[in-house]
């Protein structure tokens, strides 16, 4: 991960927690969490294991209550913990059926569908011929991309900005009475990661040179995103800037269904990529040829020759003009400090 993005991430990671606490209604309820927090609320509950690795066991209650999982009890996910003091816990299965009822289907809720989308995508371990792909440990699981997601609501009322739109809440209150319900529903629908945070998620793998080479990808994608205009604009905290998903997910599909650009169905395939740029939110009046712009170009002769020569030309141009100028300025300074100096005694 490039340092710049890493630092930014660090900052942004904690930003939502702070802003969310500001927006939290005073009546915000606290999930009944079966007393696990009796012990697990203390940041000190951690240890160094037999191999010298630090393990953290604490859960910050305020932050947990502002995560999308706030209504799930601890033992909804940590299903094996039935008694206290408890034994070593098994790993959480993200696809477990939980006690929450999905309101539309009235069935118990599970994330199983997300996995089917991932299986169909470039991140699935099985290829479309039913064979296991090479280096299968490189492929992401839910937890490689998701920490417990925090609410990061976005206001769309007049202008796109982070935070909750009070005007929108007013519209909710026309029909709904429970402040808690309104608060959660608003968050549920509008919560979005910041473009740089999304990039940060992908950076773990897509900036790892060894992985990129192993899989025959042509670019450290997050690095090159950060180098080009889109990534740079995203650094200035604007929500409208396209993130990885805006380009790599076909409109209306699950964000988990990204395809390789070699697949003709991919949004980024040669045929389709013109449509990415010209969507109504981005460059509606542009010609589809705009898609020739190298969104992932690096300063690299084989990957992007045009950009390479363009940059070299400008280096030479600037350097070529300035170097002689510097020489002249230098001579001028010398003369000012030593007005009477001369070489070889010439008068």
């Amino acid at each position: 991960m490039s340092l710049k993005i890493a630092l930014k991430n660090y900052f942004i990671l904690f930003l939502p927690a702070i802003t969310i606490m500001l927006f939290m209604p005073a009546t915000s309820f606290s999930a009944d969490i079966g007393n696990c927090l009796l012990c697990h609320k203390y940041p000190g509950i951690s240890r160094v294991d037999e191999e010298g690795k630090l393990k953290l066991f604490y859960v910050n209650e305020d932050i947990f209550n502002n995560s999308v999982h706030a209504k799930v009890k601890c033992d909804g996910c940590h299903t094996d913990i039935k008694e206290i003091p408890h034994k070593h816990a098994i790993k959480v299965d993200c696809l477990v059926e939980c006690h929450i009822i999905e309101p539309a289907s009235k069935k118990k809720f599970s994330h199983k569908d997300v996995q089917t989308f991932i299986n169909k995508s470039v991140h699935g371990v099985i290829d479309n011929k039913g064979k296991e792909k090479k280096f299968k440990e490189d492929f992401p699981t839910c937890k490689s991309c998701h920490d417990n997601p925090l609410y990061r609501p976005i206001s769309f009322f007049k202008r796109v900005r982070p935070g909750i739109s009070e005007q929108s809440l007013g519209r909710c209150r026309v029909c709904h009475k429970s402040e808690d319900f309104i608060y959660r529903s608003y968050n549920h629908v509008t919560t979005r990661l910041h473009p740089l945070n999304i990039a940060g998620v992908c950076a773990k793998c897509h900036n790892d040179l060894a992985l990129v080479t192993r899989h025959g990808l042509s670019t450290k994608a997050v690095y090159s995103y950060g180098e080009t205009f889109h990534g740079k604009a995203a650094s200035f905290l604007d929500e409208r800037i396209p993130n990885c998903l805006d380009c790599h997910v076909s409109k209306g599909e699950s964000v988990h269904q990204m395809l390789t650009h070699k697949d003709p169905n991919a949004s980024t395939s040669e045929q389709n990529k013109g449509k990415i740029c010209t969507t109504i939110d981005c460059h509606p009046s542009a010609s589809p040829k705009l898609a020739k712009y190298g969104v992932h170009s690096e300063f690299n002769l084989t990957q992007s020759p045009a950009q390479y020569f363009f940059t070299v030309f400008f280096i030479v141009l600037t350097g070529g003009t300035l170097l002689p100028l510097m020489v002249i300025i230098f001579l001028d300074i010398v003369r000012r400090f030593f007005p009477n100096a001369s070489i070889g005694g010439r008068k």
Binding site: G44, I45, S46, R47, Y58, I84, M326
Partner: protein, 275 residues
């Protein structure tokens, strides 16, 4: 033609403008040089040398520890918050060699013991009582000789039922020896004479000498800390009221009142723990 050199007779403003222009050119020049030498957008002619230097200073241990910390944040899934830390020289001497997570041997309680280092200094549990000298426990804050609180974990927020939020991150309960009507701190911090001296010479000591010094730091320290029931009982060595704990919080700490714990206590660390 001979005589005064004319070229020095410019008006003052010319020098100012000249100066500004020089700064600008110099800045652009530095940018160009950076572009050519180190920037990832340029030919990066000096990057191989930079890499070689970095390689010489690289530490495999440091790299691995950092990588693991990063990994652990994500493996943990629940989001991590950073807490403020004391600067090195304000910490008790134990932290020269131990961390906030010193306990690892006893599997059942290691993480819980580490948890207590958040509100206790080590000596609170590890102190060896001196003959004829009473020990009392008070809040200790390295920045403030008389910390007023409210302190961490001493009362509940009536609205949420959680522990109250506090702005005092550094106060911990620490032991004091009673000398007449004076209290003498039973702990040492890192700018004490012994600690500073040790920091100065530790690289010159032989392993045997270092072992000796280690013993010096462990004077008055017993290898096993207090048992749970020393505090978590009605006969607690801590005077909860004086320490500022509210009555309902005191009862909870004394009884550790959750059904699972009380009925299953015999499986836990020490029998009779929660009686």
């Amino acid at each position: 033609m001979p005589g005064e050199p004319k070229r020095l007779e410019h008006p003052k403003s010319v020098y100012l403008i000249g100066f500004i222009f020089k700064i600008i050119t110099l800045t652009v020049m530095i940018a160009v040089i950076y572009q050519i030498t180190f920037s990832p957008h340029g030919p990066a002619v000096l990057v191989p040398i930079q890499k070689k230097i970095a390689e010489g200073q690289k530490s495999a241990i440091l790299d691995e520890v950092k990588k693991h910390e990063e990994y652990e944040k994500h493996r943990h899934f629940h989001n991590i918050v950073e807490y403020p830390q004391l600067p090195e020289n304000m910490r008790p001497v134990c932290y020269i060699c131990h961390s906030n997570y010193p306990h690892s041997k006893n599997k059942k309680v290691r993480a819980l013991l580490n948890m207590h280092t958040q509100f206790f200094v080590c000596e609170t549990c590890h102190i060896e009582p001196k003959k004829g000298m009473d020990v009392i426990y008070k809040w200790y804050n390295p920045y403030d000789p008389n910390p007023k609180g409210p302190f961490f974990g001493t009362s509940y927020d009536p609205e949420t039922g959680n522990l109250i939020e506090v702005s005092d991150y550094f106060s911990k309960i620490a032991p004091y020896f009673v000398k007449g009507d004076k209290y003498e701190s039973a702990i040492q911090i890192q700018d004490s004479a012994l600690a500073q001296d040790y920091a100065k010479v530790k690289d010159q000591l032989t392993p045997e000498q270092r072992d000796n010094v280690k013993k010096k730091f462990h004077i008055n320290i017993k290898p096993k800390g207090h048992e749970c029931k020393v505090c978590h009982s009605k006969k607690s060595i801590l005077e909860f009221k004086k320490l500022g704990f509210t009555p309902n919080r005191t009862v909870d700490i004394q009884q550790l009142n959750i059904t699972g714990l009380v009925t299953k206590y015999e499986k836990f660390y020490i029998p009779n723990l929660f009686k």
